[in-house]
Amino acid sequence: MSSGPGSVLRPDLEPVFRAEYRRVVAAARRVVGSTAEAEDVAQEVFLSFAHTDVLADQARGWLLVAAVHTALNQLRGDRRRDARELRASPAHDETAVPDVAETAGRALEHAQLRAALGRLPRQQATVLVLRHSGLSYAEIAAHTDLSPGSVGTTLRRAEAALRQEMSDAPH
């Protein structure tokens, strides 16, 4: 399908979508946990991307940064989520794609991870998820206000804080 009638859309939308969609969903999923919600985030991100003139070779970084920001917004905008997730089991998550790895223990870990990400300074959480989504230091720097050197410092602090948060979490 081509772009929507009457819309001004970038002509490379479909190839970029097909090349990057799964990566964008994976990045969002690191934050929100469920595949269904991550796909919602990806839809929102590509909807915004459709109207940008971001250069094609910058698309991946732009998309991943947007996905992480959107997912973190969602995480912090819905305070009911932690409680819900802590209660959740696969059978209770009616919107999630069935996932055998989504055991109760994993769900608890997801909830603790999200709570920890929510408490990290925004920049640290962003860099942390971007780096573990595969962006290089230079790519992260290109899409944030950080220098490549500062990316390392921010990432170092984020990983240390995350480990501390998780070790402090109730088990």
Partner: protein, 367 residues
């Protein structure tokens, strides 16, 4: 001199980033080795936590969803509407609004293919009194659900409805393409900022099956009447949404005002006219009464969206909003009032524990 912690962290992933002199230093420095060890442990912990399972994702369905969303944005051709947020517990007044969204899809359908016959396009709403008894507002949603038709064919929702919170009016607008008009003149007792919720565009397809209908009718002890040949296999596509819901509430969490704006639904069928469809469906024994009442209210020009009003709990009356005809709905216990109308291709709903004058005043501000 020791490299910074950040430089050492980067060196774990990109060893070439560390100058040779620093690398030589680190190799023999106990302090740097300790920092590296800590950084490695923290990195491995993060990596373990942030690794996601490899889930096979289809690309075609999400691409279609994106294409539909783009088409539903302002300036594009396809309209939209919302669907019932299933399995979600919500405050009553919010459910009233969400139910309104479902009432909308109850009469809606659409498709973009050229060979589809337009059969319905919402330009106004029309109340239909039904005798369904309800225990709560969620039942109000269920009585208008076209999935009741599943006994007579194949009902498929191409996307799952989800009511999702978004942080701001801008985010709601960006996500749905709907204009979120700020309200400045709020009723007494309605204060603060609202919370924003969105429902993406929903599409559902119903394919009529004479065989399934015959079976359903037979199980009810009846006989399937003669149906137009073109009906067997006829497909109805319903498209509704996106929607934006705003909720103002007291600090206790009790909603004081709810607004919903939903892209007006349209419907298209694969070559069967609205009259043929409606009459054929109405001829089926065992059709749920509430659905039958709605279908009877569908006029041949297919522009008035029938809204079921459960007579035991609500009353409806005509009013106007911004010059457009509107339907005022009041609970018989006097606790809730709502108004629903259509303007600029959008179905709009305002409701809450308010007076008629208050909801109409808010409605007039929304236009």
């Amino acid at each position: 001199m020791h490299p910074t912690d950040g430089a050492l962290r980067r060196a774990l992933d990109e060893p070439a980033s560390l100058p040779d002199t620093d690398r030589d230093h680190v190799a023999t420095c106990a302090h740097c080795q300790h920092v590296l060890s800590e950084a490695t442990a923290d990195r491995d912990c993060a990596q373990s936590l942030l690794t996601v399972d490899d889930v096979h994702l289809s690309l075609d369905a999400p691409w279609q969803r994106l294409s539909d969303s783009i088409a539903a944005q302002p300036g594009a051709a396809a309209p939209a509407a919302a669907h019932r947020p299933r399995h979600r517990k919500f405050h009553r007044a919010t459910v009233l609004t969400a139910a309104g969204a479902v009432l909308v899809i109850g009469g809606a359908t659409a498709a973009a293919a050229n060979d589809w016959l337009p059969v319905f396009h919402t330009e106004s709403v029309a109340p239909v009194t039904v005798s369904a008894s309800m225990s709560n507002f969620t039942d109000l949603a269920s009585i208008a659900d076209l999935s009741d038709l599943s006994a007579y064919g194949h009902w498929q929702e191409l996307s799952q409805p989800q009511l999702r919170s978004v942080p701001s009016a801008d985010a709601a607008q960006r996500r749905t393409g709907l204009t979120v008009t700020p309200l400045t003149d709020l009723p007494t007792g309605v204060t603060g900022e609202p919370t924003y919720h969105v429902v993406d565009q929903q599409t559902a397809v119903f394919e009529f099956s004479a065989a399934k209908a015959r079976k359903a009718v037979a199980s009810a002890g009846g006989t399937l009447p003669a149906l137009p040949p073109a009906l067997d296999g006829a497909v109805l596509r319903l498209q509704a949404g996106p929607a934006v819901v705003r909720v103002w509430q007291q600090s206790s969490g009790v909603p004081t005002l709810v607004t919903a704006e939903i892209g007006a639904p349209v419907a298209q069928s694969s070559g069967v006219s609205l009259d043929v469809l409606r009459d054929a469906l109405l001829s089926l024994p065992g059709l749920p009464p509430a659905l039958a009442a709605q279908l009877r209210a569908v006029t041949s020009d297919g522009t008035a969206l029938p809204i079921p009003i459960p007579a035991d709990q609500f009353t409806s009356s005509a009013t106007t909003v911004g010059g457009a005809s509107a339907t005022l709905i009041e609970s018989k216990d006097g606790t809730l009032t709502g108004v629903i109308w259509v303007s600029d291709g959008v179905v709009r709903i305002v409701g809450g524990p308010l007076s008629e004058a208050e909801v109409v005043s808010v409605a007039n501000e929304l236009g």
